[in-house]
């Protein structure tokens, strides 16, 4: 199987390598609007619009690997796939109508409603952009010759920061909502426009990292997407190569990173060393307000939200769940996963692997997959699709015991799904285009819009 130079990190990569089913999944994930307009006047609203701000690309949960922070757990979700760094003038923002939520189960019942953190954003048009009515989100470093002097954006209150997003964090414990540190103004870090507008982006991003007290930290803003694949080779009927060409290098994502003391999450409120209930199960979700035709006016912005997407383990949303059930799957709570068992027991990924590479895969039904992805252990009677972490394990544990940004989940996924014949599968693109830092928020600084490139490191 040395010829199998399959991807790493992300399950989607595998999907792409499997020429057949792969693109269809992506199409569904990233949208191919089928709406239609015609000569006539009946109102044709979009049927599927892409929804990247609600599109979670990755979810991570791990024990902090930063020195002196080992009693903390980090929760990270990435949204908005394939951000082209030069994508102005609006660039990339969180969606004010979306609730971004981390859900945690701490009593091993598979129902992740014990602890939750919800982030909501608001937009503000301000500063020079507002007063001058500029059709841009960000300006800065305008030389005096042009009339008005707008200094570069060096802080989150610089006048050139025209579109600014503030956000709130609410912790929900057993249905009880607590606003975290309401007095601290939290501002999302804008997209990296370029060196004239934002001469020191790292410093700017540093302003967007907030200590919330109680040992909590938060960051919301743009980061480099640790996503890479040799798509061109994959589409050339799997004409893979080494070294491969990463066609997705230089793309960014929007990240929400939250670091909290493990004791806030565990059932018995003890830290990693002391807790008797070290198992956590978690997922990330995006939700939008529920609106009905007959609903009252006030309900237009109701407090009742409908889950648009959920993500726990990589691979599941992209590869295991069949496209026709995806809308329903995304809406449901992970604890209802038993409805989709068939997808786990007869994974199409394994079928595709054996078709494309002719290698034997383990026989179905695949109870090993159920155990790995849906249960706390083989004897756990409840199926719930959660990312599970034993907080007592030493920092640095890898998926499926939690998941860190540097985990090579794709290789793991292929090895698990493909069985023994796929042990050792790997790919030619094995490094991210940027080095992942070992400090909060654990993802690299984003590519800037002016100097972005899309090539191998």
């Amino acid at each position: 199987m040395t010829a199998v130079l399959l991807g790493r990190r992300k399950a989607t990569i595998v999907a792409l390598a499997l020429v057949g089913a792969a693109l269809a999944l992506l199409v569904l994930r990233f949208g191919s609007g089928p709406p239609a307009a015609q000569a006539a006047s009946h109102r044709e609203a979009p049927l599927i619009a892409n929804d990247p701000p609600a599109d979670i690309t990755d979810f991570y949960m791990f024990r902090s690997t930063q020195a002196g922070q080992a009693n903390k757990v980090d929760l990270i979700m990435d949204v908005i796939p394939f951000e082209e760094p030069s994508g102005g003038p609006n660039y990339y923002n969180f969606d004010p109508s979306v609730a971004y939520t981390f859900h945690v189960d701490n009593n091993k019942n598979g129902i992740a409603r014990d602890v939750a953190f919800e982030l909501r954003f608001t937009n503000e048009i301000r500063g020079a952009v507002n007063s001058l009515g500029l059709p841009l989100s960000y300006v800065g470093g305008v030389p005096p010759a042009t009339g008005s002097v707008i200094p570069p954006i060096t802080a989150l209150n610089s006048p050139g920061l025209g579109l600014r997003q503030k956000y709130t964090i609410t912790m929900i414990t057993d249905g009880h909502r607590t606003t975290i540190s309401p007095m601290t103004e939290k501002i999302a870090v804008p997209s990296n426009v370029g060196p004239r507008t934002m001469p020191n982006y790292d410093a700017l991003a540093g302003h967007g990292m907030y200590n919330l007290g109680n040992g909590m930290k938060v960051f919301a803003g743009q980061r480099d997407d640790p996503f890479f694949i040799d798509l061109g080779a994959a589409f050339d009927t799997l004409n893979l190569r080494s070294p491969a060409t990463d066609m997705l290098s230089g793309f960014n994502v929007n990240t929400i990173a939250l670091e909290v003391p493990a004791s806030l999450l565990t059932r018995d409120h003890h830290g990693p060393a002391e807790t008797k209930q070290p198992w956590l199960g978690a997922y990330a979700s995006t939700s939008r307000p529920e609106v009905t035709v007959r609903g009252e006016h006030g309900q237009s912005n109701s407090s009742h939200y409908v889950q648009v997407q959920r993500l726990a383990n990589p691979l599941v949303n992209e590869l295991i769940i069949g496209t026709k059930d995806k809308d329903r799957w995304n809406t449901l709570d992970p604890s209802k996963e038993s409805r989709f068992l068939d997808y786990y027991e007869n994974p199409r990924l394994a079928l595709a692997l054996s078709l494309v590479f002719g290698a034997p895969v383990p026989a179905t039904p695949r109870h090993d997959l159920e155990n790995a992805l849906l249960k706390y252990g083989p004897t756990d009677p409840r199926y719930s699709e959660l990312l599970r972490l034993n907080v007592s394990s030493p920092p640095g544990a890898s998926w499926p015991n939690g998941r860190k940004p540097s985990d090579d989940v794709t290789d793991t996924a292929i090895q698990v799904v493909g069985g023994p014949a796929f042990a050792g599968a790997g790919d030619g693109v094995s490094t991210n285009d940027k080095v992942l830092p070992n400090v909060f928020p654990y993802l690299a600084s984003p590519w800037d819009g002016r100097n972005r490139v899309h090539q191998n490191p």
């Binding site: 307009a37 006047s41 049927l47 994508g87 059709p135 061109g232 307000p289 237009s300 912005n301």
Partner: protein, 430 residues
């Protein structure tokens, strides 16, 4: 003897500085893909690249049913972005090929459903939507197809339930926009605006969808006479999607309302020059007429006739629009009742009721017209044009004061509801 080296480059029509593509998985698959054709290039690269990626993939694996189904859907999106209806037959063939390869492919069946909607074959659309639902349950998009079809068939209760299901299954700009439309029909413009605003913040990706939503929101403001906010939405649509002809068309209405007819003509001409849709052409004719330019107005009305013949030849049933245009402009008045009756049979919605009522009234059959006008307003829709029609019918029946009340209501709701009829209504009330 010639060519030594050649390098052909595709050049986008408008410099594509706005909003680069970022969300299509196929984008990276086909970096050298042709940008396709469209009235605007900006921001449509996504779909163009998606189409190119799918085409490439299908060249390699021609038996890929899902690929053809997705291609069929992508072709429909191209039709939406470019305004070019010739994508529809392509979509039709791609979807049918998908079904030949995989009978019972829910995506392909649903795609044929939305295609039927575009071609105004609402009963077919409903049947296809339901079939798609049986084949692959719980798909929000399918509920959209079903709801749209039910709405045009005048089955409002069922349609609203389908929209609610859609919004519950997957809240999205499309779902919010449909809920907004339903609320508008129910005569709740403020709630409709609230839902459409939600659609707008949710439509953050595709420029076409964003622009569409801006225009719809603008039209909601327009429908209750709020010209300023409407104009702002139309301009926002243009900045989201450069050259968006629907926004030019809507802005032309705004300029006409402000009495700037030559500016309105110029804007409407931009819409028509980009894509000569019948509603643009007829409005341009009306604007020329209002300006007193009879020759140009007649030229546009003649073009309407040409377009109508082409649409019929292309299998698009636009009888409702055709009938309304004919009735409004006194063309073939005698035939228009028959035309409207047939159109209503195909599309028994409140619009069908309204056009038939108006056609009957213009032929002096006001007794009969009244019943249909009442049906047209049975949901309580606050549509100034329909209310105006009702007023004219009441007056025709000799109910002067009732008729005048309706005319006043229409003008109070939206003083500029029609280039043709709003001035007429004002004159009648004087």
């Amino acid at each position: 003897m010639v060519t030594v080296a050649a390098l052909a480059a595709t050049v986008t029509l408008f410099s594509g500085v706005l909003r680069g593509s970022h969300s299509s998985g196929a984008l990276a698959a086909a970096p050298t893909a042709p940008t396709g054709t469209g009235f605007v290039q900006t921001g449509t690269e996504d779909t163009a690249a998606l189409v190119a990626g799918l085409q490439q993939r299908l060249e390699a694996s021609p038996k890929d049913a899902e690929g053809y189904a997705e291609l069929g859907l992508a072709y429909q999106q191209r039709a939406r972005e470019t305004g070019d209806p010739s994508w529809y037959p392509r979509s039709d063939r791609a979807l049918r090929r998908a079904l030949r390869l995989a009978p019972g492919n829910a995506v392909a069946v649903g795609g044929l459903g939305s295609l039927a909607l575009s071609r105004h074959r609402f009963r077919d659309a409903l049947a296809l939507g339901r079939r798609s639902l049986r084949l692959g349950p719980a798909n929000a998009r399918t509920y959209g197809v079903i709801g749209d079809a039910l709405l045009e068939l005048g089955r409002y209760g069922e349609a609203f339930r389908a929209f609610d299901t859609m919004a519950r299954l997957k809240p999205s700009d499309g779902a919010y926009a449909r809920v907004s439309y339903a609320r508008e029909l129910l005569g709740r413009p403020d709630d409709a605006i609230a839902a459409m605003r939600l659609a707008l913040v949710s439509a953050t990706d595709q420029p076409e969808a964003t622009a569409w939503t801006h225009v719809q929101l603008g039209k909601l403001y327009w429908s209750i006479g709020r010209v300023g906010p409407a104009a702002r939405q139309y301009r926002a649509a243009l900045s989201a999607f450069h050259g968006y002809p629907y926004a030019f068309d809507a802005l032309a209405q705004v300029q006409a309302a402000r009495g700037r007819l030559s500016a309105a003509v110029a804007l409407e001409n931009r819409a028509v020059d980009t894509i000569p849709l019948p509603q643009f052409v007829s409005q341009l004719g009306d604007l020329y007429r209002a300006e007193g330019n009879r020759a140009q107005a007649r030229r546009q009305y003649e073009l309407m006739d040409v377009i109508r013949r082409l649409l019929v030849a292309n299998g698009v049933k636009t009888d409702l629009e055709t009938a309304l245009f004919d009735v409004d402009h006194g063309i073939r008045t005698g035939e228009s009742v028959t035309l409207a009756r047939k159109a209503r049979a195909l599309r028994p919605s409140i619009d069908g009721d309204d056009v038939l009522a108006w056609a009957l009234a213009r032929n002096g059959r006001c007794d009969e017209a009244l019943g249909y006008s009442k049906r047209a307003l049975r949901l309580g829709t606050r549509d100034a044009l329909k209310i105006f029609h009702r007023g004219m019918i009441e007056r025709c029946l000799g109910h002067r004061s009732a008729g005048d009340a309706f005319l006043r209501d229409a003008l109070a709701l939206n003083p500029h509801f029609s280039i043709l009829w709003a001035p007429f209504a004002k004159k009648e009330l004087r």
